[in-house]
Amino acid sequence: MTAVAKKLVILGGGTGGTLAANRLRKAYDAADLQIDVIDQDNDHVYQPGLLFVPFGLATADEITRPRQRQLHRGINYHQSGIRSVDIEADRVVLGDGMVIAYDVLLVATGSVLQPNETEGMNGPGWLDTVFTFYDVQGATALAAKLDDFESGRLVINIVDMPIKCPVAPLEFAFLADWYFTEKGVRDDVTITYVTPLDGAFTKPTAAAALSSLLNEKNIELVTEFNTGEVDGDAQKLIGYDETEIEFDLAVVIPLHGGSPYVEDSPGLGDELGFIPTDNATLQSLVKPNIFVLGDAADVPASKAGSVTHFEGDVLVENIESFLADRPLEAAFDGHANCFIETGFSKALLIDFNYETEPLGGHYPGPVGLPLLKESRLNHLGKLMFQSFYWHGLLPGRDIPGIGAGMPTAGKHTAATAD
């Protein structure tokens, strides 16, 4: 064993930072590895829960817990902003000027919303006719607005990819259909889903299933709309091609970028503030002693908690290898797994990776949850997940029968399609 403990600094105490810290704390004695986690606040939000807040199905308090309490004993927690990372000198400068040196850095600061990157978005009308449910403040304000909203045009708009949880805006549309139906005003509300993509979703089989579901629920789909401006006063979205979509209530998903300190850290991130990262090993491409977990990475996987969770196994193994001077052998396959809430106590489930698009069948094997099909079981799975998140995923426990890699046993592949 080494005489002096190696220092691992983890930027971000969210899903990725917390699960990695806890798993690595179990794997190493404090005498061998010191672990420091840095985050700017002490509010760990269960982000999938934000979807339910606007509909009165959850409150901010119910989905928020203290960050520090999710970290195991023996992990140092610093509540501080991050000013910059000096990747040449292997050190982090905190908001208050304090400097922390590291042997290994794990970047897990996720992505941030950038409403000010779209003309007019957070101008007149913001939190009046224009809302987002992608943060606690917006989701809470939207709940009050929806409570009063009885008729008119609801427009849901994704400005551009990448966004966190690319299925969440669809879920919002489905839940809005349910919500207004329950209120008895569905006939007085039009729901329009406006996306820059050429379909309801990025992957063809799922896009087809989801667009027929939109159709069934009488939600209009507008594709290839590139939002250039949000005019809250005139209540319209204006596309770069000058086409306009009018609304009474717009629920927008703002542009996403990396955490602001990335831009002030020479050599660390790309133009959008995400960290260039090896798709398989999760080692950064900027320096070997920097690893990246979750939304902060530029890997072509969904920015979603499930991805971060599945990446966790690979990341921990590769950090262990790195510390031991061994080659990094663990490889992430891009596995994502998302429950898609469709309203009326039902949900779909999709499961996919870098290479394989979401297919029908069952997960994780021939007997399991139905894929790409509405079911009550999937809805229950989605609801139960919150408890697993706090008590299983963050502490670093595995789910029996669920590995990190994407399973194929229960799926309708080209050869088995029915």
Partner: protein, 106 residues
Amino acid sequence: MPTQQIAGVAVEVNDEGFFVDAEQWTEEMATPLAEQWGVPVPLTDKHWQVLRFMRSEYFEKGTGPTVRKLGKTSGVTVKELYQLFPKGPAKLAAGCAGIPKPRGCV
């Protein structure tokens, strides 16, 4: 893989019409490709600035940039990009520049 005649040369393209091998592209192909993709011709210097940028990014990084990255790094604003390549600058510019479709985000 289908092949397609562009400027008198047989080129391998995928189902969506994007080049499979960016090395098969020549400058003479840009205008016929623009017509095919619905990009207004004649191509201007600004179009060419974007096409060259797309190709250099592709050869350096293995994928063409998205609209947002183009807007931040190509020297042409997002607004102008939509004027040059209406509908979808990244996709249409990739089509005209003979590189694969920029790696979409999921």
